[in-house]
């Protein structure tokens, strides 16, 4: 049947199961947008292509399906860059589509021409330039397969305008993707399994490091089974939150730079680390030479290039985590580690006393109160999309996730402005779930224009702004390491309630502790999007904190209040 490249494009996306796409039209995507009219796919018109990129990413992370973002050539494509890099760092399956100038014009500095495949080469898992309509279908097939399989990641397809316009005789066929050099399905050797089992059974102080790979692989049940049978405590990476139930007695919570001090201490004391789908990021290890010196390390990871990259391991099992654990579990015996669990318990010390939410009420509103209240009111069941900075760390510390894929945040790249569009994407992926965006007053302003997208789409995303009038995380570093010289961190924001109002959304001000729960309840009851501007303590810091370059158990702690010091 005769079809244009643009028609083929939409049919292929439908065949891949795409139901929603986030985009912004332009000259080089006019044919694609013309053919959209007859497609079943819902198109969300964003206000900036960066918004589209994070929405597709948020959609992918909340659902586990491939997210799709569409932009025009030149500036449209370059506006996607931040979102592509974000998706790569966090292994998020997103297909990015960009229009390109007609093929005879490529390389002639045509209007809105840019070398998109060149620019995105180091920040995509793979990318394509299509100049011929007949390549559209097989390339989309390959792109979706690449994005989703193995270690997921962003794939970009740049399609010239003439390829979109050309009419060819075409029928859909479901030939599998042909990628002779791509090997996503590694399997560990049996001999390694035997060594690993022995090491696990011999361990006295084992500890599981739970990473994003658990969620991607869908290995939650296997990890739970493993942890319970071997009585091994579980510490999470930032992106691993939700991979293991946060309220489980074996759950230690987050590790690393802003993890609990006793969790990091436990890692340093452990004699066996079981790294499940994580990559020993510098925010997790602190100073590598001082990291877990007493521990043997078993790394289960799908990406061979992560093995021995940051931390030298004793055994590497390269393969899909779920499959590998399923193969490992039958040989794992029930073990008792009461002594070790008790030892970890004693490491807690004053931690609970230092916790801001337990400190005597001094009339001030702290961010921790907000997140803690949000966790209680939503019973830990909401999808929480945080931005980057202090708000992100407080969210990670105080919102406990029992469900997988409910904690969404930009971890590796640390992209400010991710929160709001990420939350919109998550809502489209899970329309029946309650979605909360948590952002600082800095990050929300980076992608604030997407409030318009919310208004136009008529969706409900709750937004909590932790407003302290500072770029808080940078301010905190300036306080600790630059003698409190607050260079370019104080920030005068707009009246966010008026901003909400201007978008026909509801805005609420909260500036005291006793209003927090009421405001959260009110936001949940409201059928539309509600933005709450929480005026929190201006110069509060995220504790504990590992200074960069220090060992992870050398932490800066929240100072104990006088009253507590006198008592003890």
């Amino acid at each position: 049947m005769n079809k244009t490249g643009a028609q083929i494009f939409w049919e292929c996306l439908e065949r891949e199961g795409v139901d929603v796409i986030f985009g912004y039209p332009g000259g080089a995507t006019l044919p694609i947008y013309d053919a959209l009219v007859t497609s079943k796919i819902h198109h969300v018109l964003v206000r900036h292509e960066q918004g589209a990129s994070h929405m597709a990413d948020g959609y992918a992370r909340a659902s586990g399906r491939v997210g799709v973002a569409l932009a025009t050539s030149g500036p449209g494509a370059t506006n996607l860059i931040t979102g592509i890099a974000t998706a790569l760092m966090d292994s998020s399956p997103v297909v990015f589509i960009t229009g390109q100038v007609s093929s005879p014009l490529i390389g002639y500095d045509a209007f809105q021409e840019t070398d998109v495949t060149g620019i995105t080469l180091p920040i995509t898992k793979h990318n394509y330039l299509i100049t011929d309509a007949k390549d559209i279908a097989p390339t989309i097939r390959e792109a979706f397969f690449l994005a989703k399989s193995g270690r997921p990641g962003p794939v970009l397809i740049d399609i010239t305008k003439d390829a979109q316009q050309a009419t060819i005789d075409w029928e859909y066929d479901d030939k599998p993707a042909h990628l002779p050099g791509y090997r996503p399905d590694f399997r560990p050797a049996n001999t390694e399994f035997e060594r690993a089992v022995e090491m696990i059974h011999n361990a006295k102080k084992p500890l599981i490091l739970a990473g994003h790979g658990i969620l991607i692989s869908g290995a939650m049940e296997e990890v739970l089974e493993f942890a319970e049978r071997t009585q091994t405590p579980v510490a999470d990476t930032l992106l691993g939150l939700g991979a293991f139930p946060g309220s489980h007695s074996l759950s230690l919570g987050m590790m690393g730079m802003h993890g609990e001090a006793w969790v990091n201490k436990a890692i340093q004391e452990a004699d066996l680390l079981l790294a499940f789908g994580m990559r020993f990021d510098d925010r997790v290890t602190g100073k590598i030479s001082h990291y877990a010196p007493k521990a043997k390390k078993i790394h289960i990871e799908i990406d061979p290039s992560e093995i021995n990259k940051n931390v030298q391991v004793d055994i590497a099992l390269v393969g899909d985590l779920k499959e590998t654990l399923q193969k490992l579990l039958p040989s794992i015996k029930t073990v008792d580690h009461t002594e070790w669990l008790e030892e970890i318990n004693t490491m807690k010390g004053h931690s609970a006393v230092r916790d801001i939410k337990n400190l005597p009420d001094n009339g001030h509103l702290y961010a921790a109160h907000v997140i803690n209240a949000l966790w209680q009111v939503t019973k830990g069941e909401a999808i929480i999309v945080s931005d980057v900075g202090q708000n992100q760390m407080w969210t990670a510390q105080y919102y406990r996730h029992d469900q997988p894929n409910t904690s969404i945040t930009s971890g590796g790249l640390g992209t400010m402005g991710f929160g709001l569009p990420g939350g919109i994407g998550a809502k489209f992926a899970m329309p029946d779930k309650e979605v909360w965006v948590i952002a600082g007053d800095g990050g929300i302003q980076m992608t604030q224009a997407e409030l318009s997208t919310i208004a136009q789409e008529g969706i409900k995303v709750n937004i909590a702004i932790l407003n302290n009038g500072y770029l808080g995380m940078v301010r905190q570093w300036q306080e600790f390491f630059y003698d409190k010289r607050y260079s370019a961190t104080p920030m005068k924001g707009p009246d966010f309630v008026k901003i909400a109002d201007a978008h026909d959304l509801t805005g609420l001000h909260v500036d005291s502790r006793d209003q927090v729960i009421d405001a959260i309840e009110a936001a949940r009851k409201n059928p539309g999007t509600v933005l709450i501007d929480f005026k929190v303590e201006k110069e509060d810091s995220v504790y504990p904190m590992v200074p960069t370059g220090a060992a992870i158990d050398a932490m800066i702690r929240r100072p104990l209040p006088e009253s507590v010091i006198q008592e003890s």
Binding site: L121, P180, G181, P304, S305, I307, K309
Partner: protein, 180 residues
């Protein structure tokens, strides 16, 4: 120490750029790079030489494998292999010293491929040391231009990169690349 990596890649636009980017991004230093077709349609072969003092060589193979278009990579450094470099040297040659130069070329089994009244182009193949040695003896005569291909390398014996591909990766070779 110098390491010689050999890679089979899909013969497609931009693949060399992807391979080189792996090195550029991590500030690895490439000493020598050659690319050419193989006897199998659709497959190109790349030989890359790096210095392990400047480059974290153990990272290269996993990073190369991350590239979708890379079919096989091997480090030939510790395997018996043959490596060759080809150079063309243009040199000033007067009728008086021409014979002496040509005699030197013969000793090195080099070939004269162009002669004019006052110049010669000499072609030489061999391992790097041999070529370096030849260039050194020519230097006093006045080298005016020189070009080298960079190193190409091949494993000795019957084992080939294509065969090793299936074994080392526990991986079924795509039909079109299977040996007849």
């Amino acid at each position: 120490m110098r390491h010689t990596f050999v890679a089979l890649v899909e013969d497609k636009t931009g693949v060399l750029n992807r391979v080189v980017s792996v090195f550029r991004r991590r500030t690895f230093n490439i000493e020598s790079l050659t690319v050419g077709r193989t006897h199998q349609e659709g497959i190109s072969r790349i030989t890359i030489v790096v210095d392990s003092d400047k480059t974290d060589v153990v990272r290269i193979m996993p990073y190369m494998y991350k590239l979708i278009n890379v079919l096989q990579v091997e480090d030939l450094t510790y395997q018996p292999h043959v490596n060759r470099d080809l150079a063309m040297v243009k040199i000033t040659a007067t009728p008086e010293n021409r014979a002496a130069i040509m005699q030197l070329a013969e000793v090195f089994r080099a070939r004269v491929v162009d002669v004019t009244n006052n110049s010669l182009i000499i072609e030489i193949t061999g391992d790097e040391e041999k070529i370096d040695g030849f260039v050194d003896v020519l230097r006093p005569y006045g080298i005016i231009e020189m070009v080298r291909t960079g190193i190409i390398a091949m494993e000795r014996g019957t084992s080939t990169l294509i065969n090793n591909m299936g074994e080392s990766q526990n991986y079924e070779l795509p039909i079109e690349f299977k040996m007849a």
